[in-house]
């Protein structure tokens, strides 16, 4: 029970144990703990970075998609407009062509009418002349009244 030299022996053992712990036990274990802490922190940071990059990429993709959609709708609009224009234009040309054809036909009709009129007039004048000739043949000497006859024929023609 009393204090004796065991005290000194115990102190030596204690000093040895502390020295050994300080030199060979604490540093490697503590370092490995710190290293793992760092590793985990790095991993978490990397994960966060990755997530951020993913979000950025998603945003970018959305932007590109939106742009593409806009472009495509623009193209569709343009195409529709162009188609409308084409339809309008062809309608216009068709109308014009029709009008032109009508005009041409009208002109032809007019011309034919004129021709018919002319030939009719000529025929009528010829008929009139012949009739007059027959009427007058008895009384009128063809040679004597040549001037008069041609004058009438001219008037009729």
């Amino acid at each position: 029970m009393s204090i004796n030299a065991t005290l000194i022996g115990q102190m030596i053992t204690f000093a040895l144990l502390v020295w050994f712990t300080m030199k060979y036990i604490w540093p490697p274990l503590f370092d490995s703990l710190e290293e793992r802490k760092k590793k985990i922190a790095d991993g978490l940071a990397a994960a966060e970075k990755g997530q951020e990059a993913m979000q950025l990429a998603e945003k970018k993709a959305k932007g590109v998609l939106k742009e593409a959609k806009e472009q495509s709708s623009e193209i569709v609009n343009l195409a529709q407009k162009r188609a409308n224009e084409l339809v309008e234009a062809s309608k216009e040309t068709a109308k014009k062509e029709g009008e032109r054809l009508i005009l041409v036909a009208k002109a032809q009709i007019e011309q034919e009418k004129q021709q018919a009129k002319e030939s009719l007039r000529k025929e009528v004048s010829a008929l009139a002349l012949r009739a007059a000739e027959q009427i007058l043949s008895a009384e009128i000497d063809k040679t004597k009244h040549q001037d008069l006859l041609s004058k009438i024929s001219n008037q009729l023609g």
Binding site: M1, I3, L7, A15, W26, F30, L33
Partner: protein, 257 residues
């Protein structure tokens, strides 16, 4: 003591259990059981931790490494909580104290008669297996801590600074003798309280185990089982208290007022 140990009956049984195996006489006597068991337990601690330290990786830790790292983190948290300076000694010191004292105390949980019985079969008459029931063991540790306190006080504050602290605090230079007395008592109380607290708790615990062992055998489990459960708390708590107080005292030694 040796003469008392021959007493018969219950007293003799108790005294027998509380007598150390000694060689030599007077102050130069050595308590072989204390030295042996504390050295073996210290070796166990060092071997186990060295094994973990050799295999330590920053990757996925194994079972042993996990356990050891848990202890390391626990001690490191305690040190960081109360000690703010830089000192490479304190954390390993605290770890050693905690583990070693815990292992000492753990010997208390072995049935009181087993190891002495084995000892007597080997021809050893007396065997005290719990080093922390030996004042020599607890005082050796607390005096070592005390030396470190004095060493760091002088190292950090300088001899004159430490002397000034002893003389002029807490009541100023006009009450110098009183300050000195107060401070000396305060400093000396540190190792004494450290050693006696641990010794007292474990000695009492061991004594109660011995007293339970004297009871009729049908009563023993009923009493020793709850006491052992309670003792698991006590042995851990005492190791923890010794460690924390060491950290606190050393951090006080580092603080300049």
């Amino acid at each position: 003591m040796a003469t008392e140990a021959h007493a018969e009956g219950a007293t003799g049984y108790i005294i027998h259990h509380l007598t150390s195996l000694t060689v030599g006489e007077g102050f130069w006597a050595l308590n072989l059981d204390t030295l042996f068991f504390s050295a073996v337990l210290g070796g166990l601690f060092v071997w186990f931790f060295k094994m973990a330290a050799d295999k330590a990786t920053a990757g996925v830790p194994g079972l042993v490494q996990n356990f050891v790292e848990m202890l390391i983190e626990f001690v490191d948290t305690q040190v960081k909580d109360s000690f703010h300076g830089k000192n490479k000694l304190i954390a390993p010191l605290a770890l050693t104290i905690f583990c070693w004292v815990f292992l000492w105390n753990f010997m208390d949980l072995f049935p009181v008669d087993i190891l002495p019985l084995i000892g007597s079969l080997m021809g050893i008459e007396y065997l005290r297996v719990v080093p922390s029931t030996d004042l020599n063991a607890t005082f050796a540790m607390s005096i070592s801590v005390f030396c470190l306190i004095i060493f760091y006080s002088i190292k950090v504050k300088g001899p004159w600074g430490f002397a000034k602290e002893l003389m002029f605090q807490p009541f100023g230079p006009w009450l110098l003798p009183f300050n000195l007395l107060l401070k000396l008592v305060e400093e000396i109380a540190k190792p004494i309280s450290l050693a006696l607290r641990l010794f007292g708790n474990l000695y009492a615990g061991e004594l109660i185990f011995i007293l339970i062992a004297l009871l009729p055998c049908y009563l023993q489990p009923v009493l020793s089982f709850p006491w052992a459960i309670f003792h698991i708390l006590i042995i851990t708590l005492q190791a923890f208290i010794f460690m924390v107080l060491t950290i606190v005292y050393l951090s006080m030694a580092h603080e300049d007022h």
